[in-house]
Symmetry: C2
Subunit: 146 residues, 2 copies
DNA sequence: TTCATTGCAAACAGTTTGCACCTTC
DNA sequence: GAAGGTGCAAACTGTTTGCAATGAA
Protein backbone atom coordinates (compact mmCIF):
# COMPACT_ATOMS: atom_id res chain seq x y z
CA UNK A 1 0.00 0.00 0.00
CA UNK A 2 2.76 2.54 0.83
CA UNK A 3 4.30 2.18 -2.63
CA UNK A 4 0.90 2.76 -4.22
CA UNK A 5 0.77 6.06 -2.37
CA UNK A 6 4.30 7.02 -3.33
CA UNK A 7 3.61 6.23 -6.97
CA UNK A 8 0.56 8.46 -6.77
CA UNK A 9 2.74 11.29 -5.46
CA UNK A 10 1.12 11.31 -2.04
CA UNK A 11 2.97 11.30 1.26
CA UNK A 12 2.75 8.08 3.16
CA UNK A 13 0.82 8.57 6.37
CA UNK A 14 -0.63 5.88 8.63
CA UNK A 15 -4.13 7.18 7.91
CA UNK A 16 -3.77 6.84 4.16
CA UNK A 17 -2.17 3.42 4.31
CA UNK A 18 -4.94 2.25 6.63
CA UNK A 19 -7.71 3.52 4.36
CA UNK A 20 -6.17 1.80 1.35
CA UNK A 21 -5.97 -1.46 3.30
CA UNK A 22 -9.58 -1.19 4.34
CA UNK A 23 -10.61 -0.70 0.74
CA UNK A 24 -8.46 -3.59 -0.42
CA UNK A 25 -9.65 -6.01 2.25
CA UNK A 26 -13.32 -5.13 1.99
CA UNK A 27 -15.76 -6.79 -0.34
CA UNK A 28 -15.91 -3.37 -2.01
CA UNK A 29 -18.71 -0.79 -2.08
CA UNK A 30 -18.23 0.67 1.38
CA UNK A 31 -19.60 4.10 2.06
CA UNK A 32 -17.58 6.85 3.74
CA UNK A 33 -19.17 6.25 7.09
CA UNK A 34 -18.47 2.53 7.09
CA UNK A 35 -14.87 3.20 6.06
CA UNK A 36 -14.60 5.69 8.91
CA UNK A 37 -16.06 3.20 11.38
CA UNK A 38 -13.61 0.50 10.33
CA UNK A 39 -10.68 2.91 10.35
CA UNK A 40 -11.37 3.91 13.93
CA UNK A 41 -10.88 0.37 15.13
CA UNK A 42 -7.22 0.63 14.36
CA UNK A 43 -6.73 4.39 14.52
CA UNK A 44 -9.27 5.86 16.93
CA UNK A 45 -8.32 9.49 16.38
CA UNK A 46 -8.80 9.49 12.62
CA UNK A 47 -11.36 12.03 11.48
CA UNK A 48 -14.14 11.83 8.96
CA UNK A 49 -12.60 14.75 7.06
CA UNK A 50 -9.45 12.74 6.56
CA UNK A 51 -11.53 9.91 5.19
CA UNK A 52 -13.24 12.19 2.70
CA UNK A 53 -10.04 14.03 1.82
CA UNK A 54 -8.14 10.82 1.24
CA UNK A 55 -10.90 9.23 -0.82
CA UNK A 56 -11.03 12.28 -2.99
CA UNK A 57 -7.26 12.28 -3.51
CA UNK A 58 -7.25 8.58 -4.32
CA UNK A 59 -10.04 9.25 -6.78
CA UNK A 60 -8.06 12.05 -8.42
CA UNK A 61 -5.13 9.68 -8.77
CA UNK A 62 -7.34 7.06 -10.39
CA UNK A 63 -6.94 4.55 -7.57
CA UNK A 64 -10.46 4.70 -6.27
CA UNK A 65 -13.84 5.22 -7.83
CA UNK A 66 -16.99 6.63 -6.41
CA UNK A 67 -20.17 4.66 -7.03
CA UNK A 68 -23.72 5.98 -7.07
CA UNK A 69 -26.33 3.39 -6.29
CA UNK A 70 -29.84 4.59 -5.62
CA UNK A 71 -28.98 5.99 -2.24
CA UNK A 72 -28.24 9.44 -0.95
CA UNK A 73 -24.56 8.90 -0.34
CA UNK A 74 -21.62 7.45 -2.25
CA UNK A 75 -19.85 4.15 -2.13
CA UNK A 76 -16.19 3.66 -2.88
CA UNK A 77 -14.05 0.87 -4.29
CA UNK A 78 -10.52 0.33 -5.51
CA UNK A 79 -10.30 0.67 -9.29
CA UNK A 80 -9.78 -2.39 -11.41
CA UNK A 81 -6.19 -2.92 -12.36
CA UNK A 82 -5.45 -4.56 -15.70
CA UNK A 83 -7.89 -5.56 -18.38
CA UNK A 84 -10.68 -7.04 -16.38
CA UNK A 85 -13.32 -4.45 -15.53
CA UNK A 86 -16.29 -5.20 -13.33
CA UNK A 87 -19.79 -3.82 -13.03
CA UNK A 88 -22.61 -4.04 -10.51
CA UNK A 89 -25.91 -5.74 -9.84
CA UNK A 90 -27.79 -3.91 -7.09
CA UNK A 91 -30.71 -5.34 -5.16
CA UNK A 92 -33.30 -2.63 -4.50
CA UNK A 93 -34.78 -4.66 -1.63
CA UNK A 94 -31.78 -5.57 0.53
CA UNK A 95 -29.10 -3.31 -0.92
CA UNK A 96 -26.81 -6.22 -1.77
CA UNK A 97 -24.27 -5.57 -4.50
CA UNK A 98 -22.88 -8.29 -6.74
CA UNK A 99 -20.04 -7.70 -9.14
CA UNK A 100 -20.05 -9.12 -12.62
CA UNK A 101 -17.87 -9.09 -15.68
CA UNK A 102 -18.92 -9.38 -19.28
CA UNK A 103 -17.25 -9.17 -22.67
CA UNK A 104 -20.44 -7.52 -23.95
CA UNK A 105 -19.52 -4.36 -22.11
CA UNK A 106 -16.13 -3.95 -23.72
CA UNK A 107 -17.73 -4.69 -27.06
CA UNK A 108 -20.22 -1.92 -26.33
CA UNK A 109 -17.59 0.63 -25.36
CA UNK A 110 -15.56 -0.19 -28.45
CA UNK A 111 -18.61 0.46 -30.62
CA UNK A 112 -19.45 3.69 -28.83
CA UNK A 113 -15.92 5.03 -29.04
CA UNK A 114 -15.96 4.46 -32.79
CA UNK A 115 -19.48 5.70 -33.45
CA UNK A 116 -19.32 8.87 -31.34
CA UNK A 117 -15.60 9.54 -31.62
CA UNK A 118 -15.40 9.48 -27.83
CA UNK A 119 -12.25 8.82 -25.85
CA UNK A 120 -13.65 6.60 -23.15
CA UNK A 121 -12.33 6.97 -19.63
CA UNK A 122 -14.77 4.91 -17.62
CA UNK A 123 -17.86 2.81 -18.12
CA UNK A 124 -20.38 2.07 -15.42
CA UNK A 125 -23.11 -0.47 -15.69
CA UNK A 126 -25.51 -0.76 -12.79
CA UNK A 127 -28.32 -3.22 -13.12
CA UNK A 128 -30.88 -2.97 -10.37
CA UNK A 129 -33.68 -5.30 -9.45
CA UNK A 130 -34.69 -8.02 -7.02
CA UNK A 131 -31.98 -10.51 -6.11
CA UNK A 132 -32.70 -14.20 -5.97
CA UNK A 133 -32.79 -14.28 -2.15
CA UNK A 134 -35.29 -11.44 -1.96
CA UNK A 135 -37.42 -12.99 -4.69
CA UNK A 136 -37.52 -16.27 -2.75
CA UNK A 137 -38.49 -14.44 0.43
CA UNK A 138 -41.18 -12.55 -1.44
CA UNK A 139 -42.63 -15.75 -2.88
CA UNK A 140 -42.63 -17.33 0.58
CA UNK A 141 -44.60 -14.38 2.00
CA UNK A 142 -47.11 -14.51 -0.80
CA UNK A 143 -47.61 -18.24 -0.24
CA UNK A 144 -48.22 -17.65 3.47
CA UNK A 145 -50.82 -14.94 3.04
CA UNK A 146 -52.95 -16.91 0.61
CA UNK B 1 -49.82 15.20 -19.32
CA UNK B 2 -52.92 15.43 -17.07
CA UNK B 3 -53.95 11.89 -17.91
CA UNK B 4 -50.47 10.64 -17.09
CA UNK B 5 -50.94 12.12 -13.63
CA UNK B 6 -54.40 10.65 -13.20
CA UNK B 7 -53.16 7.23 -14.24
CA UNK B 8 -50.43 7.54 -11.64
CA UNK B 9 -53.04 8.27 -8.99
CA UNK B 10 -51.89 11.84 -8.47
CA UNK B 11 -54.16 14.86 -8.39
CA UNK B 12 -53.84 17.13 -11.36
CA UNK B 13 -52.42 20.47 -10.33
CA UNK B 14 -50.98 23.15 -12.59
CA UNK B 15 -47.57 22.70 -10.95
CA UNK B 16 -47.40 19.00 -11.69
CA UNK B 17 -48.62 19.34 -15.25
CA UNK B 18 -46.06 22.08 -15.85
CA UNK B 19 -43.19 20.04 -14.47
CA UNK B 20 -44.11 17.07 -16.64
CA UNK B 21 -44.21 19.31 -19.68
CA UNK B 22 -40.81 20.73 -18.88
CA UNK B 23 -39.39 17.23 -18.61
CA UNK B 24 -41.05 16.15 -21.84
CA UNK B 25 -39.93 19.19 -23.81
CA UNK B 26 -36.38 19.27 -22.53
CA UNK B 27 -33.51 17.45 -24.09
CA UNK B 28 -33.53 15.44 -20.88
CA UNK B 29 -31.05 15.40 -17.99
CA UNK B 30 -32.11 18.60 -16.29
CA UNK B 31 -31.23 19.07 -12.66
CA UNK B 32 -33.73 20.20 -10.02
CA UNK B 33 -32.51 23.77 -10.12
CA UNK B 34 -32.81 24.07 -13.89
CA UNK B 35 -36.30 22.57 -13.77
CA UNK B 36 -37.20 25.09 -11.06
CA UNK B 37 -35.79 27.96 -13.11
CA UNK B 38 -37.78 26.93 -16.19
CA UNK B 39 -40.92 26.36 -14.17
CA UNK B 40 -40.80 29.87 -12.74
CA UNK B 41 -41.05 31.38 -16.20
CA UNK B 42 -44.61 30.16 -16.44
CA UNK B 43 -45.53 29.85 -12.78
CA UNK B 44 -43.49 32.39 -10.81
CA UNK B 45 -44.74 31.35 -7.38
CA UNK B 46 -43.80 27.68 -7.68
CA UNK B 47 -41.41 26.58 -4.97
CA UNK B 48 -38.33 24.44 -5.07
CA UNK B 49 -39.92 22.08 -2.55
CA UNK B 50 -42.75 21.43 -4.94
CA UNK B 51 -40.22 20.62 -7.63
CA UNK B 52 -38.47 18.11 -5.38
CA UNK B 53 -41.71 16.69 -4.05
CA UNK B 54 -43.14 16.22 -7.50
CA UNK B 55 -40.00 14.68 -8.92
CA UNK B 56 -39.93 12.24 -6.08
CA UNK B 57 -43.57 11.28 -6.58
CA UNK B 58 -43.08 10.86 -10.31
CA UNK B 59 -40.09 8.70 -9.55
CA UNK B 60 -42.12 6.54 -7.17
CA UNK B 61 -44.72 6.11 -9.90
CA UNK B 62 -42.06 5.05 -12.36
CA UNK B 63 -42.54 8.05 -14.65
CA UNK B 64 -39.22 9.73 -13.96
CA UNK B 65 -35.76 8.50 -13.19
CA UNK B 66 -33.00 10.14 -11.27
CA UNK B 67 -29.58 10.08 -12.90
CA UNK B 68 -26.21 10.30 -11.18
CA UNK B 69 -23.45 11.65 -13.34
CA UNK B 70 -20.19 12.56 -11.68
CA UNK B 71 -21.61 15.67 -10.09
CA UNK B 72 -22.87 16.51 -6.65
CA UNK B 73 -26.53 16.74 -7.57
CA UNK B 74 -29.03 14.68 -9.51
CA UNK B 75 -30.44 14.95 -12.98
CA UNK B 76 -33.92 13.85 -13.99
CA UNK B 77 -35.53 12.50 -17.11
CA UNK B 78 -38.80 10.94 -18.20
CA UNK B 79 -38.59 7.16 -18.24
CA UNK B 80 -38.52 5.36 -21.53
CA UNK B 81 -41.89 4.07 -22.58
CA UNK B 82 -42.03 0.90 -24.61
CA UNK B 83 -39.19 -1.37 -25.59
CA UNK B 84 -36.53 1.10 -26.53
CA UNK B 85 -34.31 1.92 -23.57
CA UNK B 86 -31.58 4.50 -23.74
CA UNK B 87 -28.29 5.05 -21.93
CA UNK B 88 -25.78 7.87 -21.57
CA UNK B 89 -22.44 9.07 -22.79
CA UNK B 90 -21.10 11.80 -20.49
CA UNK B 91 -18.30 14.20 -21.36
CA UNK B 92 -16.13 14.83 -18.31
CA UNK B 93 -14.81 18.04 -19.85
CA UNK B 94 -17.92 19.94 -20.92
CA UNK B 95 -20.64 17.97 -19.13
CA UNK B 96 -22.49 17.20 -22.35
CA UNK B 97 -24.72 14.16 -22.28
CA UNK B 98 -25.52 12.11 -25.36
CA UNK B 99 -28.09 9.36 -25.36
CA UNK B 100 -27.51 6.07 -27.11
CA UNK B 101 -29.31 2.81 -27.64
CA UNK B 102 -27.79 -0.60 -28.15
CA UNK B 103 -29.05 -4.14 -28.47
CA UNK B 104 -25.92 -5.24 -26.60
CA UNK B 105 -27.40 -3.88 -23.39
CA UNK B 106 -30.61 -5.90 -23.57
CA UNK B 107 -28.53 -8.95 -24.42
CA UNK B 108 -26.47 -8.25 -21.32
CA UNK B 109 -29.47 -7.87 -19.02
CA UNK B 110 -31.00 -11.06 -20.38
CA UNK B 111 -27.78 -12.93 -19.59
CA UNK B 112 -27.54 -11.44 -16.12
CA UNK B 113 -31.15 -12.19 -15.24
CA UNK B 114 -30.59 -15.82 -16.17
CA UNK B 115 -27.18 -16.22 -14.58
CA UNK B 116 -27.93 -14.51 -11.25
CA UNK B 117 -31.64 -15.27 -11.07
CA UNK B 118 -32.29 -11.53 -10.79
CA UNK B 119 -35.56 -9.84 -11.64
CA UNK B 120 -34.27 -6.78 -13.39
CA UNK B 121 -36.03 -3.47 -12.84
CA UNK B 122 -33.62 -0.99 -14.38
CA UNK B 123 -30.30 -0.91 -16.15
CA UNK B 124 -28.05 2.09 -16.28
CA UNK B 125 -25.05 2.43 -18.49
CA UNK B 126 -23.01 5.58 -18.20
CA UNK B 127 -19.93 5.83 -20.33
CA UNK B 128 -17.76 8.79 -19.51
CA UNK B 129 -14.86 10.27 -21.38
CA UNK B 130 -13.87 13.08 -23.71
CA UNK B 131 -16.39 13.95 -26.41
CA UNK B 132 -15.30 14.59 -29.94
CA UNK B 133 -15.66 18.39 -29.66
CA UNK B 134 -13.52 18.54 -26.51
CA UNK B 135 -10.94 16.24 -28.07
CA UNK B 136 -10.71 18.51 -31.08
CA UNK B 137 -10.36 21.57 -28.86
CA UNK B 138 -7.68 19.81 -26.85
CA UNK B 139 -5.72 18.89 -29.98
CA UNK B 140 -5.96 22.49 -31.23
CA UNK B 141 -4.52 23.80 -27.94
CA UNK B 142 -1.65 21.32 -28.05
CA UNK B 143 -0.86 22.32 -31.62
CA UNK B 144 -0.80 26.00 -30.62
CA UNK B 145 1.55 25.59 -27.69
CA UNK B 146 4.19 23.69 -29.61
C1' DT C 1 13.36 22.75 8.45
C1' DT C 2 9.90 22.84 5.28
C1' DC C 3 5.62 21.89 3.66
C1' DA C 4 1.96 18.57 3.32
C1' DT C 5 -1.35 16.42 6.26
C1' DT C 6 -4.28 16.08 10.17
C1' DG C 7 -8.32 16.85 13.56
C1' DC C 8 -11.63 19.84 14.88
C1' DA C 9 -15.36 22.96 14.28
C1' DA C 10 -17.81 25.57 11.33
C1' DA C 11 -19.67 26.08 6.67
C1' DC C 12 -21.91 24.46 2.65
C1' DA C 13 -25.09 22.44 -1.03
C1' DG C 14 -28.66 19.77 -2.15
C1' DT C 15 -32.69 17.94 -0.43
C1' DT C 16 -36.48 17.10 2.97
C1' DT C 17 -39.95 18.35 6.38
C1' DG C 18 -43.59 20.85 9.50
C1' DC C 19 -47.11 23.68 9.18
C1' DA C 20 -50.80 26.98 7.93
C1' DC C 21 -53.23 28.02 3.91
C1' DC C 22 -55.22 26.79 -0.53
C1' DT C 23 -57.07 23.57 -4.31
C1' DT C 24 -58.80 19.44 -6.32
C1' DC C 25 -62.17 16.06 -6.39
C1' DG D 1 -66.37 19.20 2.82
C1' DA D 2 -62.56 16.08 3.07
C1' DA D 3 -58.27 14.73 1.45
C1' DG D 4 -54.47 16.07 -0.59
C1' DG D 5 -51.14 19.70 -2.48
C1' DT D 6 -48.62 24.11 -1.99
C1' DG D 7 -45.25 27.79 -0.42
C1' DC D 8 -42.41 29.19 3.03
C1' DA D 9 -38.98 28.75 6.51
C1' DA D 10 -36.43 25.86 9.10
C1' DA D 11 -34.12 21.38 9.54
C1' DC D 12 -31.27 17.72 7.99
C1' DT D 13 -27.52 14.88 5.67
C1' DG D 14 -23.56 14.07 3.33
C1' DT D 15 -19.54 16.46 2.18
C1' DT D 16 -16.09 20.33 2.14
C1' DT D 17 -13.21 23.96 4.10
C1' DG D 18 -10.32 27.20 7.30
C1' DC D 19 -7.10 26.97 10.59
C1' DA D 20 -3.74 25.88 14.16
C1' DA D 21 -1.10 21.96 15.49
C1' DT D 22 1.42 17.82 13.99
C1' DG D 23 4.33 14.76 11.32
C1' DA D 24 6.77 13.12 6.89
C1' DA D 25 10.56 14.01 4.01
Amino acid sequence: MPQLLREAGLRVTPQRALLLEILRDSEGHLDADEIYRRARHRHPRISLSTVYRTLSQLKDQGLVRELHFDEDHHHYELCDTGECKHYHLYCVDCGAVVEFESPLVSELTRQLAREYNFEIVDCRVTVSGHCSACRAKQRACEGESQ
